[in-house]
């Protein structure tokens, strides 16, 4: 087990180093950063001043080493635009994104797991097919359009929920629903297939032979065995939701990490762009590491792979 964790942790570290490189290379795609920051109207002298001020006159290798060494110490540099510490800016925005992600995950699990269980119990019937079709329909929904539609219906026509911002907790409901759509199909499929396998196994037959009620069999015996992989995939889905919340944060004007990234991209604030990319990637890596460990704790066969 320790061996397994050590190997996974090493891979996670290697992935982080790769993302450090990619995020650095990404912001150098435009060729001349100083020129991009100064804008098309700036004179050559202004561009030179900016180049010096932001340390862009140093060789690329030096810039890269500086970025890696300070990032590993938790220092992500300063925003070109706000002259504030980027790490502090991200931390200030994190609660919004995290609350949104967890709301989305909560809605997704509360919808997907019961539906997955019902589909598995009625495997092969119309009900099963119908439920799995819902998953396909959910997958096809463009998130930003769904967000705008919900704003029109529940915010404007019915007036039930706020249409933007998170001054109250109700502000998280609509964006949470939209975000949950991205995780529901995967969670539902996994719950269903896990339950189908569990329900077909010997211990369920034994439980049935003992005369246990159907409810007890499904909830106590089958679900317990199907649950762990679902919990593990939930961690991964949370990672996808956190890094994918940028579109939804923009639609609902939620000032989270994704919104910060989008704002930085549209205003050429490169230190913020590369840091947000790095931050979201690291969060994802940690969540998948957690999922790996959960799976390995449950299934010893995985540890030897």
């Amino acid at each position: 087990m320790l061996n397994f964790i050590a190997r996974r942790a090493l891979i996670a570290l290697l992935v982080t180093m790769t993302v450090l490189t990619i995020s650095f290379a990404l912001t150098r795609l435009s060729g001349d950063l100083a020129f991009a920051i100064a804008g098309p109207q700036a004179s050559a002298a202004d561009v030179e001043i900016i180049r010096k001020a932001y340390g862009l006159d140093k060789p690329l290798v030096v810039q890269f080493v500086n970025w890696v060494t300070s990032a590993l110490q938790g220092d992500l540099g300063r925003s070109f635009l706000y002259h504030d510490s980027v790490a502090k800016m991200i931390m200030a925005r994190l609660p919004v994104t995290l609350t949104l992600g967890l709301t989305g995950l909560l809605i997704a699990t509360l919808t997907a797991i019961p539906l997955g269980i019902i589909a598995a119990m009625r495997e092969g019937t119309m009900l099963d097919r119908g439920i799995m079709t819902i998953a396909v329909i959910g997958q096809a929904m463009p998130s930003f359009w769904l967000g705008l539609t919900l704003i029109i219906v529940f915010g404007l026509k019915l007036g039930w929920l706020p249409i933007s911002g998170v001054d109250t907790w109700q502000g998280y409901i609509l964006p949470g629903i939209v975000l949950s759509f991205s995780a529901i199909p995967a969670l539902m499929r996994l719950t269903r297939s896990g339950m189908v396998d569990a329900l077909a196994s010997d211990y369920i037959r034994t439980a049935r032979a003992k005369g246990l009620s159907r409810m007890a069999i499904v909830l106590k015996h089958a679900l317990r065995n199907a649950a762990m992989p679902v919990v593990a995939i939930s961690a991964v889905q949370l990672g996808f939701m956190l890094s994918g919340s940028i579109v939804i944060e923009t639609v609902f004007s939620l000032h989270g990490v994704g919104y910060l990234g989008w704002e930085a991209i549209s205003k050429n604030d490169f230190p913020v762009v590369q840091s947000v990319v790095l931050f979201l990637a690291v969060v994802f890596v940690l969540l998948t590491l957690l999922a790996d460990m959960l799976n390995a704790a449950l299934d010893p066969r995985l540890r030897t792979q």
């Binding site: 891979i11 290697l14 992935v15 790769t18 993302v19 990619i22 990404l26 912001t27 795609l29 435009s30 991009a36 092969g124 019937t125 119309m126 097919r129 079709t133 396909v136 329909i137 997958q139 096809a140 929904m141 463009p142 998130s143 930003f144 359009w145 705008l148 539609t149 029109i152 404007l156 890094s243 994918g244 940028i246 579109v247 923009t250 994704g258 990234g261 989008w262 991209i265 549209s266 050429n268 762009v273 947000v276 990319v277 979201l280 990637a281 994802f284 890596v285 998948t288």
Partner: protein, 279 residues
């Protein structure tokens, strides 16, 4: 297969939708009644002809600068299909190459491929795509290339696992025994026998690419205006949606229908070709 009818119906419906959108895109210049770029400030925000205040000349109404919405929608179909197909070709080439190599050679090669997949998955997709398009400059080809370079992971995962299954089968052993070259075995024995799995992945990825292009265009960093991308149409209509909700419904429902159609078609193909369920 106790109830094949529903699945067949959905697959047929999906294929029908995809064919209609594809034909609309190809024959856009002949179908559209107006130039999709021509604005007419005297005819702004006219609702669709079947709604109150609509007029028969503009079937789906006009947008905020008086461009015919139906004509823009049809040209938008062209952009969605183009992006979807071109992205799948790009990402398919990358992903299938990587996946087949990893699955076929195993060992160190496979470790590298797995590492590449892990890295790709940890990178925030939309954020990186937005950053690339913003830095390189937005154009149709930049969007295709960016999405193509990002969406190869599922191709790689499926190509890798299916290649591993095929690698040890008898006909591959027979080809080895017959003295076939490695290249011959990869292209003539392995690829044709995993192709049906990859076709299903291609439909999923095409749907995803179309959704992502729309999202990028919606955020203002995808297809550049005045091109009529459905995502861009929704972005431009956003500020008018409170008074005229139809203006975001027309491109939104089109987008949803097309993506749903592709997914239904993919499910149908999966059943028909007996492809793997776990993608």
């Amino acid at each position: 297969m106790r109830l094949p009818s529903i699945r067949m119906l959905a697959a047929g419906l999906g294929t029908g939708i995809v064919v209609v959108v594809l034909l609309a895109g190809i024959f856009a210049p002949w179908i559209t009644p107006y130039d999709p770029f021509a604005h007419n400030l005297d005819a702004r925000m006219i609702p669709p002809s079947f709604m109150e205040g609509g007029r028969p000349a503009n079937f789906l109404g006009t947008d905020h600068i008086g461009r015919d919405y139906f004509s823009r929608l049809i040209y938008g179909a062209r952009i969605s299909m183009l992006i979807g197909l071109a992205t799948v070709v790009t990402s398919g080439l990358i992903g299938i190459t990587l996946g087949v190599m990893g699955g076929f050679f195993g060992g160190r090669v496979d470790d590298v491929v797995m590492f590449a997949i892990t890295c790709r998955l940890s990178i925030p997709l939309i954020l990186v795509a937005l950053a690339v398009v913003s830095l390189v400059g937005s154009s149709l080809s930049v969007v295709v290339l960016t999405l193509g370079l990002l969406l190869w992971d599922r191709f790689a995962v499926v190509a890798r696992t299916t290649t591993m299954q095929v690698r040890n089968l008898d006909y591959v052993a027979a080809a080895w025994a017959a003295g076939c070259s490695r290249f011959h075995i990869l292209t003539r024995e392995v690829l044709p026998n995993i192709a049906h799995h990859l076709v299903v992945v291609a439909t999923l990825e095409m749907a995803l690419a179309i959704l992502l292009e729309a999202a990028l265009s919606f955020l203002g960093l995808g297809v550049p205006p005045p091109l009529p991308s459905w995502g861009l149409m929704i972005a431009e209509a956003k500020e008018y949606m409170f008074f005229s909700p139809w203006i975001i419904m027309v491109p939104g429902i089109s987008l949803f229908t097309l993506v749903l159609g592709i997914n239904f078609m993919g499910d149908g193909l999966r059943d028909m070709l007996g492809a793997t369920r776990d993608v």
